[in-house]
């Protein structure tokens, strides 16, 4: 550690104004503050510094995402082995396969996103913000494993530039950057983002794994539901099969051994991560709680009034919560402090509506098997309005009290 610090301090003059490597000053600053707590203090006035700065926040979120990430690797391998018709599932090999499958995606998303971030920071003579640390890992986790790398690069670039940088960088964005990346991918390249050919990795990675048979299809459970045309819950349970053709049990749904976007399948890992976020005080329990409440309510209503026109309405409340990306979106996307509501009452409304809209889109629009992404983006747009209404209502209430 000391040697590293010495090295950085020695390199400092080259990055100062007039130094040889001045063009990379923001990169140097970023690395320096990332590795060591800066020794500078504010020159004027009194400032209160919280030890919970944005850097630490971001690192805790990454830790909270680790269970989902690791499980996603295992699940990627597991689904691949299933697709190849294997009967034995060697744990470490599966994990290695998943790691090799996701690594290039993580690298691409970080290189593109951080590249833009560094360039903009240097251009505007600002410090590099830590915001992309989390976004960069979220992007591969919410995309199907077969998404081509160049598409991830294009969508990340569009999203980081137009959703974040033009508004002023980290902390100023209206929409969740990772979700917009997914939305851009979804609307730009629908063939690669939905359907039954993209959620399972089909080819070997560096000689690990086999080649899945030609014409192999592996739809997500929600995709199967939308396409099933089922007329009762029993029929629906028949329609939801794993990629080996056997029905998926409720336990598998909860555990997450189902095809889906990389990091979103496992309810249990999401809950673990959510617990860490709540204990660290980063995520708002109000949003998570009300999102699950809203989703449960909507799923319950849909289940009560189930019709064959919308097969997903036959799903039970538990299945609605476990399947698809809803839980992941509620815990990791909706709680993004930048794009969520700021007022406490607003958080309840915001989370509740995310839950309701997510299930509403998923159930009553057979064209969109999953609505969590659109629900969060929609509520991102409405969050300032909700806050404004809450604040206005408060002002009015206090005015009334002052008059009385």
């Amino acid at each position: 550690m000391k040697a590293l610090k010495k090295l950085l301090d020695k390199a400092r003059p080259a990055f100062e104004e007039g130094g040889k490597l001045h063009a990379f000053r923001s990169v140097y600053e970023g690395m320096d503050t990332f590795l060591f707590t800066p020794s500078e203090t504010s020159a004027s006035g009194v400032h209160i510094h919280d030890s919970m700065d944005s850097k630490r926040t971001m690192i805790i979120v990454i830790c909270a995402l680790l269970p989902c990430l690791l499980f996603g690797m295992y699940n990627t391998g597991y689904q691949h082995w299933l697709a190849c018709g294997a009967t034995e599932f060697p744990f470490w090999t599966l994990l290695l396969y998943g790691f090799l499958a996701v690594l290039p995606r993580i690298v691409v998303s970080y290189v593109v996103g951080l590249g833009i971030e560094f360039t903009v920071a240097q251009w505007r003579k600002e410090e590099i913000q830590e915001g992309f640390l989390v976004t960069g890992i979220l992007i591969p986790m919410i995309c199907p494993i077969e998404t081509p790398l160049w598409m991830i690069a294009v969508a990340t670039a569009i999203s980081v530039i137009f959703v974040k940088e033009v508004f002023g960088g980290t902390g100023y964005n209206i929409f969740n950057v990772a979700l917009v990346t997914r939305a851009v991918l979804f609307f730009s390249y629908p063939a690669k983002m939905s359907g039954d050919g993209v959620f399972v990795s089909l080819s070997p990675m560096l000689g690990i794994g086999g080649q899945a048979p030609d014409g192999f299809t592996g739809a997500t459970p929600l995709g199967e539901v939308a396409a099933s045309g089922a007329t009762s819950h029993a029929e629906l349970a028949q329609a939801i099969t794993g990629i080996n053709g056997e029905p998926i049990s409720g336990w598998d749904m909860f555990l997450g051994l189902i095809p889906g976007s990389f990091g979103e399948t496992s309810m249990i890992c999401i809950l673990l991560g959510g617990l860490l976020l709540l204990m660290a005080g980063i995520a708002s329990w109000r949003i998570i709680l009300s999102a699950f409440a809203g989703a449960s309510l909507m799923a319950w209503i849909a289940h009560l009034t189930a019709t064959p026109t919308y097969p997903a309405s036959f799903l039970t409340v538990g299945e609605q919560l476990c399947l698809g990306g809803f839980a992941f979106a509620a815990v990791f996307m909706a709680t993004d402090p930048v794009t969520a509501c700021r007022t406490n009452v607003g958080k309840y409304i915001y989370g509740f509506l995310i839950g309701v809209v997510a299930i509403l889109i998923r159930t009553y629009n057979n064209g969109y098997p999953e609505g969590a992404m659109l629900a969060v983006l929609l509520m991102n747009a409405l969050a300032p309005l909700i806050d404004w209404c809450v604040v206005e209502a408060n002002v009015r209430r206090r005015l009334k009290r002052a008059k009385a």
């Binding site: 081509p148 160049w150 598409m151 294009v154 137009f162 851009v184 609307f187 730009s188 390249y189 629908p190 063939a191 690669k192």
Partner: protein
């Protein structure tokens, strides 16, 4: 007004400094709607140039006889008549394109650029400068339309004016057309990028 600014300025200002779309931000609706392909964008641009030029001339000729309190109605009648003529011509000679443009040719009547030019220029100027102003603004509008349509058609369909531009080997290598480019939101982003570039070049247009 005409004696203060030269004819050259009247004609060329709307190209860049006074561009109706990217500086005055008028006519955005049709700019989003007809720019998914180059061909309809071009036809739409020409239609607007024609309608704008002739309605400017007609209103300019009538400007001293129009009672002030009904001037909007008179302007509307003139524009509507011209739009109907253009629409009928399109149906007669370019049926396919007129199908693609559908209601947007008729909606030239409600295009803010037209009412803006008639009110702001034709009502106070002689026919010749009014004609130049109409053509200039029409070209300014058509230019932006064509730039937007160029990017949208190239990236969204891989074609230009209907001809395949992106070679097949790209698709074989895994390239895919960007479906979002066909959708209106992307037109808004492309217009925004043009405004961005334009204002970075013309620093005097930047708001403080």
């Amino acid at each position: 007004m005409a004696d203060k600014t030269s004819y050259k300025d009247i004609f060329f200002n709307p190209f860049s400094k006074d561009n109706p779309v990217i500086v005055q931000v008028l006519g955005i609706c049709s700019a989003l709607a007809v720019t998914a392909k180059m061909e309809p964008a071009l036809v739409m641009g020409i239609s607007v140039i024609a309608v704008l030029a002739f309605s400017n001339v007609i209103i300019s000729l009538l400007r001293n006889t129009i009672p002030t309190n009904i001037r909007i109605i008179v302007q509307l009648v003139v524009v509507a008549a011209l739009v109907i003529i253009v629409n009928q011509l399109l149906i007669a000679y370019a049926y396919d394109v007129s199908k693609q443009l559908s209601v947007f040719v008729s909606l030239i009547i409600t295009n803010c650029i037209l009412m803006g030019r008639l009110e702001a220029f034709a009502m106070g100027n002689k026919p010749w400068p009014a004609f130049l102003d109409g053509v200039g603004n029409g070209i300014g509008y058509a230019m932006v339309l064509l730039i937007v349509a160029f990017f949208r058609e190239l990236l969204g369909s891989g074609t230009l004016f209907g001809f395949q531009v992106v070679p097949q080997c790209f698709y074989d290598a895994g390239y895919a057309n960007n479906g979002l480019m066909i959708l209106p939101p992307m037109a808004l982003l492309v217009v925004a990028c043009i405004i961005w570039v334009h204002r970075s070049i013309n620093k005097d247009l930047q708001e403080k």
